[in-house]
Every structure is written in structure tokens, then in C-alpha cells.
């Protein structure tokens, strides 16, 4: 359990730094930014305590926010994503799944994991960019941002997933 928490904390720090120092500087075609930190939430296993999942996602969102001077933006979006993750995982469970099933392509199957990751990332992007565009609504830019970011992020998550054991 302690080892698991430590490993999760390490992933937390790495994702946060990678997001802040690398991906926040990349904007492809003026609309697509990679929000890799959602991967953390996608990876939460089955029956992971709800409160811990929520706190993790809130803390990760807030840490990412600190680097971009937008306190509350990613935190709000990621908390909601973290809240929905267990319900989605429940939907995609294979028959006779073990109690603490890993949320990974190897245990869920490629298509199921892809669908789940896509839905979660999409929800996150939807909320994130809606909050960002508050008060200055440009729906074309808004929808482009959501579509571009979702596609790129899912692509990167699936690439990383293929390296994960």
C-alpha cells in the first residue's frame, strides 16, 4: 500500500513537471495543447478509495494551475474527471474482473481502454476550456481547442500506454 502510494506520488510529480515545463509550451496549429496530467486520473485502479482519488485529482489540478497562474481552473476540471472515473471504469469492466483491477490497456483490452481514456480526456477538456473561455466566448476557437487537445492527449496517452507493463 505504502509502495503504491509512493509510486503514485512519483508519477504525480513527474506528470506535473512534464506538463509545466514541456507541454505547456507546445501549441500545435494554434489550438491543440497536450494536457498529459489527465493520464494520472485515467490510471486510477478499480475500487481505489473515492476520497483519495478525488484528493489526488484536486491536488494535481491545483499544482498544474500554480505553474500557469490560473488557480482553480485545472483543479475544477480535474476534480470532476476524477469523480467520474470510477463510474466509467465500472462500465468497461471485463467479466470476472479482480477487485483491484489495474486501469490499463493490458487488463481492459485496447479498445475499451481507448474509449474510456477518450471519454475522460474529452470531459476534462470540455470543462477546462469552458472555464477558460468564460466571459469571452468564441465558440469556434473553443470547439477547436477541445477537439485538438482531446485528440492529441489521447494519442500521447495511448503511446505511453503501449510502453507500460
Amino acid at each position: 500500500m505504502a509502495i503504491d502510494t509512493l509510486r503514485r506520488a512519483l508519477v504525480f510529480v513527474v506528470l506535473c513537471l512534464v506538463q509545466a515545463l514541456v507541454f505547456n509550451h507546445i501549441h500545435l496549429f494554434g489550438c491543440a495543447t497536450i494536457l498529459l496530467y489527465v493520464y494520472f486520473v485515467v490510471m486510477l485502479p478499480r475500487n481505489y478509495p473515492r476520497w483519495a482519488g478525488l484528493l489526488w485529482s484536486f491536488a494535481l489540478g491545483l499544482s498544474v494551475d500554480m505553474f500557469t497562474n490560473t488557480p482553480g481552473m485545472a483543479a475544477a476540471a480535474l476534480t470532476l474527471t476524477g469523480f467520474l472515473q470510477p463510474y466509467l471504469l465500472q462500465l468497461f469492466l471485463p467479466r470476472e474482473a479482480p477487485e483491484n483491477l489495474k486501469s490499463a490497456a493490458s487488463s481492459l483490452g485496447f479498445t475499451k481502454f481507448l474509449t474510456m481514456a477518450f471519454i475522460l480526456v474529452f470531459i476534462h477538456c470540455l470543462v477546462f476550456f469552458t472555464i477558460e473561455s468564460f466571459g469571452f466566448f468564441n465558440w469556434q476557437q473553443w470547439s477547436l481547442n477541445i477537439v485538438g487537445t482531446t485528440l492529441l492527449t489521447v494519442l500521447l496517452i495511448m503511446t505511453l500506454e503501449s510502453f507500460r507493463k
Binding site: 513537471l17 509545466a20 515545463l21 505547456n24 501549441h27 473515492r50 476520497w51 478525488l54 484528493l55 484536486f58 489540478g61 491545483l62 494551475d65 500554480m66 505553474f67 500557469t68 497562474n69 490560473t70 488557480p71 482553480g72 481552473m73 483543479a75 475544477a76 476534480t79 470532476l80 469523480f83 472555464i131 469571452f136
Partner: protein
């Protein structure tokens, strides 16, 4: 009571979601007015340190370009100074007065060199973090400039870092500026998009100027001394209400590779503010 407890233990995650979302919402909507939130921004010591390391690595690879630019600018300015000095000498037959005036002018300001540790240019409201804070004498509302021109105004300070609102901030940046040599003034506003183009609003209709004129700070706001470069006029439009001109300005500062900046602290600002207060007091005290 027992039912209530059972209800809470069963659905506690809903409550938690509500609580955390409320916390996010509060931070989101209060950030602009809430000074204590300096903890949740890049002025926070840990985040500042990480960005400082990052900036150290990045600036190493940018040094050549920055140097080149500075050398060019230096050359240009030196030529200008020598030319002006020659003209002035010709006119007055006195060659030392200019140097004296220059020193006098600069002694009014304290210049604090700082390094940019984090910077964005692709959002609507961009912020810059610099590695100097209260301990180095940086305070809120001080002006920030770099070798090529104006950068922004200090917004939040912690002990060793400060957050600057640059020109590239749609909501909060309004820097007073004037057309060089003509004196007409307006304010600088950026509308998002291209980080090298901004607009000067409120230039009066009777003003005479032309494309290619330089825009500089006006010195009216007491944040910046007058004469700091802003950019070159590229296009002239009518404002939406038709009462003034709007100038499209090519900014002289390259925000995309900003490394070394200078915080300008005006020693006379306290005096100016006191005087303004006195004026206000005397007007309200005056018998009607």
C-alpha cells in the same frame, strides 16, 4: 440521526466533490482581487525555484540571439546619442550640459535588474514571473522594461519573486503612451493573438503623425519614465465610435524570448502621490 450518518458514509464522495469544486470556484473567481492567493501562483517559492532552474537552462541556449539584439540596439542608441550631442553642442556651444542633465534624470530612478523565470504569450491573460521580490526592493505597481522596450507592471510580490502583468494581458494591461516627437498620448491595449502586435487607443482626431512613427511611454502614469520604447506605428484605423484614432503598433519588445528585464523604481513616486492626496483633500475641504 443514524440514517443521516448512513447517508453521509454512503454518499460522502458527492459531498467531497461539491466541497473541492467550491474551493476551485472560489479560487477561480477571487484570484484577480485576492492578494493572499500569491501562494497558489508562480510567485510561490517552490514553483518559482523550479521555473528558475528551467529558465537557467533555456536562457543558455538563447544567449546568442539576445546578445546580438542587444548589441544592435546598443549600437543604434550610441549613434543616436552622439548625433544628438553634436546637434546640441552646435546649437548651444556647450558640450557638458547634456551629460549633467542625463545623470540628474537617471538618479531619480532606481533600476533593479531581474531575470524572467516564467513567461507565456499564447493566452488571453499572460503573466510573467521574475526572480526579484520584496527583499530586493520590488513593489507592486513598479514598471518593468527590457533593453528593447516596455514589458509591463508588477502585480504581486513575494519575498524573492514577483508576478508581472505584461502588455500581453487583455484584461489588466493599460499602459499610457505617446507618439515620439508629437506628444499626443493614448493607452496601449492588446487584444490577444499575435504577441508582436498591440493597439494604441484614444489618439485624438486632430493629431498629426504618420506611419512608421515611434510610440513610447508618456511618463504620465508615474510607473514608467517617459521615453521608453513601445513600438512602431504600422497602421492607422478609426476607433469604433469615430471619435479617435486607433493605431496598430508593432511592439519593439520580443515577448517570446524575454530573459533580462529591469524593474524601474521611481523614488519620487511617494512625493507625487502625497501631492495628489493634498490636492484631493484641499478640494473636498474647500467651502462650497
Amino acid at each position: 440521526m443514524k440514517n443521516l450518518l448512513a447517508f453521509i458514509t454512503k454518499y460522502y464522495h458527492w459531498l467531497m466533490l461539491l466541497l473541492l469544486e467550491t474551493a476551485s470556484g472560489v479560487m477561480l473567481f477571487q484570484y484577480n482581487s485576492y492578494q493572499g492567493s500569491v501562494w497558489f501562483t508562480t510567485a510561490n517559492a517552490v514553483v518559482g525555484k523550479v521555473y528558475e532552474w528551467d529558465a537557467a537552462v533555456r536562457s543558455f541556449f538563447l544567449l546568442t540571439r539576445v546578445n546580438e539584439e542587444l548589441t544592435l540596439r546598443n549600437f543604434y542608441l550610441e549613434r543616436q546619442v552622439s548625433q544628438l550631442r553634436r546637434f546640441y553642442g552646435d546649437m548651444t556651444r556647450d558640450t557638458t550640459v547634456l551629460e549633467r542633465q542625463e545623470l540628474e534624470f537617471l538618479s531619480q530612478y532606481k533600476l533593479i535588474p531581474a531575470k524572467v523565470v516564467s513567461n507565456t504569450i499564447n493566452k488571453r491573460d499572460n503573466f510573467i514571473t521574475i526572480d526579484r521580490g520584496e527583499a530586493d526592493g520590488v513593489e507592486r505597481d513598479m514598471g518593468v522594461a527590457c533593453g528593447n522596450g516596455v514589458v509591463g507592471v508588477v502585480y504581486l510580490t513575494s519575498a524573492h519573486y514577483a508576478v508581472v502583468i505584461p502588455v500581453l494581458n487583455v484584461t489588466s494591461s493599460r499602459i499610457s503612451c505617446a507618439i515620439r516627437g508629437r506628444g499626443y498620448f493614448g493607452y496601449l491595449q492588446w487584444y490577444g493573438g499575435d504577441p508582436s502586435v498591440a493597439y494604441v487607443e484614444d489618439i485624438p482626431r486632430h493629431a498629426r503623425f504618420k506611419r512608421g512613427d515611434w510610440v513610447e511611454t508618456s511618463g504620465y502614469s508615474s510607473i514608467f519614465p517617459s521615453g521608453i520604447l513601445v513600438g512602431k506605428i504600422e497602421k492607422i484605423y478609426n476607433s469604433t465610435d469615430g471619435l479617435s484614432y486607433r493605431l496598430k503598433v508593432r511592439l519593439s519588445t520580443d515577448f517570446a524570448c524575454l530573459r533580462d528585464v529591469t524593474v524601474i523604481s521611481d523614488k519620487t513616486i511617494g512625493e507625487q502621490l502625497r501631492l495628489l492626496e493634498q490636492v484631493k483633500d484641499s478640494i473636498t475641504m474647500a467651502p462650497k
